[in-house]
Symmetry: C2
Subunit: 344 residues, 2 copies
């Protein structure tokens, strides 16, 4: 409880900027009173918002910045215009300089990843970072990566992701040896592309201390929670994540339609209101908001651009947990225990 956790925030990021970031920080601090914040952004906007948030009293230092990265800016352009001076860059730099234990931004994902790579650098032996998310399942949650950091993969990258994802799962789920599956089009050994087949062979043979390799899993296993960690290439992972989000919205629309169609259904809805509220809460994507950048020399969390204050608070919660339980050290230990032949 007494261990302070310092989080730097890109207060100008996301569709709503400071009006979401500041109350989000307030909500998160209510749950973790030992947190303090470094907020980067427009001082004139931030000062009254922070003053109006009693839960943030004495916990915020505002640092004025004049450049904000736009949501639709090309990463290369964002780096050119924002390097060294944008609220996004400054939030990441605070982690590099040891002023913060983790950075959170709801800004442009491509720009955030590009700046994180330049400012923090990738960990030694890791060629490419990944973005991991918490995926809600019928059993609870799983870590799923990569949901969109890089396009294309090879076996070494998949093995690295298995190790890093397991390190994150160790912290989030408090498991010593999380189960790891490789996402594929079938569970038989002969299925899939060369990268997953080779990664499967490497993980089986390496028998790493930090993870229990389960085998191939399919798309249906994601919601089922078959394994603690699901590893896949970024193109497929991003499409799987957005397909699940879209399906959840689609079913919510069906349900809404069905419940309003007849008088009987409407009466039923009134009786079951509480149950529907619980269901909505379960299906609320902001509960699992927060993509964790893995493979960098520092902790950076991406909040969904459209997230509300509750969603942004969830991203801060994840940053808090990762910093508090020293994600960086856990990953380094796991990578050190990985034999060279199983990790390039």
């Amino acid at each position: 409880m007494s261990q302070r956790v310092r989080i730097s925030l890109d207060a100008m990021g996301g569709d709503h900027g400071p009006s979401t970031v500041v109350p989000g920080a307030g909500l998160a601090r209510e749950r973790h009173p030992e947190t303090t914040f470094l907020m980067f952004g427009d001082e004139a906007v931030l000062t009254p918002l922070v003053a109006a948030e009693p839960r943030l009293k004495g916990a915020v230092e505002i640092r004025h910045t004049t450049v904000a990265v736009a949501m639709d800016e090309k990463p290369s352009q964002a780096v050119r215009a924002g390097r060294g001076k944008s609220s996004m860059w400054k939030a990441i730099q605070a982690v590099r300089d040891g002023e913060a234990d983790a950075a959170v931004s709801a800004g442009n994902t491509g720009a955030l990843m590009a700046m994180s790579k330049i400012c923090l650098k990738t960990m030694s032996h890791i060629e490419r970072p990944a973005i991991a998310c918490l995926w809600p399942t019928v059993r609870g949650e799983s870590v799923v990566l990569d949901v969109g950091a890089t396009i294309g993969t090879d076996a070494n990258h998949l093995v690295d992701m298995a190790v890093m994802g397991a390190a994150m799962a160790r912290i989030v789920f408090d498991l010593d040896r999380p189960t790891v599956g490789l996402l594929n089009v079938g569970t038989e050994e002969m299925k899939g592309n060369e990268a997953v087949k080779e990664a499967a062979r490497m993980l089986r043979e390496a028998d790493l201390p930090g993870l229990a390799y389960h085998g191939f899993v399919e798309g249906t296993d994601l919601g089922r929670g078959t394994v603690d960690v699901v590893v896949t290439e970024g193109f497929t992972g991003n499409i799987a994540l957005k397909t699940a989000e879209g399906t959840a919205k689609q079913i919510a629309a069906y349900l809404k339609g069905a419940m309003g169609r007849t008088l009987m259904a409407k009466i039923g809805y009134l009786f079951a209101r509480g149950a529907f509220r619980a269901l909505r809460e379960k299906m609320n994507p902001s509960r699992a908001n927060g993509g964790v950048f893995l493979g960098l020399e520092g902790i950076v969390i991406k909040s969904h651009g459209a997230a509300d204050a509750e969603g942004f608070a969830s991203a801060i919660d994840i940053a808090h947990d990762m910093a508090r339980h020293d994600l960086m050290r856990t990953i380094r230990e796991r990578l050190d225990a990985t034999p060279a032949q199983a990790s390039a």
Copy 2:
């Protein structure tokens, strides 16, 4: 109504074999009385089942076979053991020999595709076939391909799939120029791998008469029904399809849990029973069952191995529609109208 549609059935395929195939054929024939069936399988099993199904009276010819492809057989092994004699091969061969207008099997997908390629051959200019499915959306349905015929792709293959998927959409949705989107990790031009970027350029420049190219779509657009046809590579398409199935099951489990938790919710459920039934019907995967093999010199439909009689009947319905409206001719016309530079 008077145009006869002849469908060959692999009566031994699927998890349940003849006990699902025969009543499934009965259900389908009720809807399309002009259909006749060639059933390949164990005569001793099929004869009493067909006799017990009044809706099939005078519409079935049974052809005895002694070899059945197992659900877990490797495709190469299935071809070796079943070529020329298995119920699966014979059903496909009936299409090749002009005895049937389309074949339906609930058997092993890999074996069915391998046998179809050998027996029917791919269409000229098409290097690799694809599997298309009907994806339920909030607006109705979309054609999505490839959901697992081949792993890996290039721009030419994506363009071919756009043309073939549009031909299928023309028949299913009765649209002259269906909209087509390429599945990607974002909608901006710079996003994605080389294959989708190049295919996008080709489709934009070719401006084909048979389809209206919409641009990139994301995973969330699948359930939203943003376009009539969604084109993607087989690995990603298969994972997206199974992820959506898994998410639907997961939400059904949440809903069931929520409705049974309190007395109020249980009472609400009683009132809203009809609405829940309608919802279950909408979420029932057997309604959209039936993967269409595209790019072969003949129509082959894959039913889900675990489908019940209603699901198998849906696959027959699709076979019926594809045969009745001459899918083969529509695809050939569309491919002929595709300039050489846009299709290898």
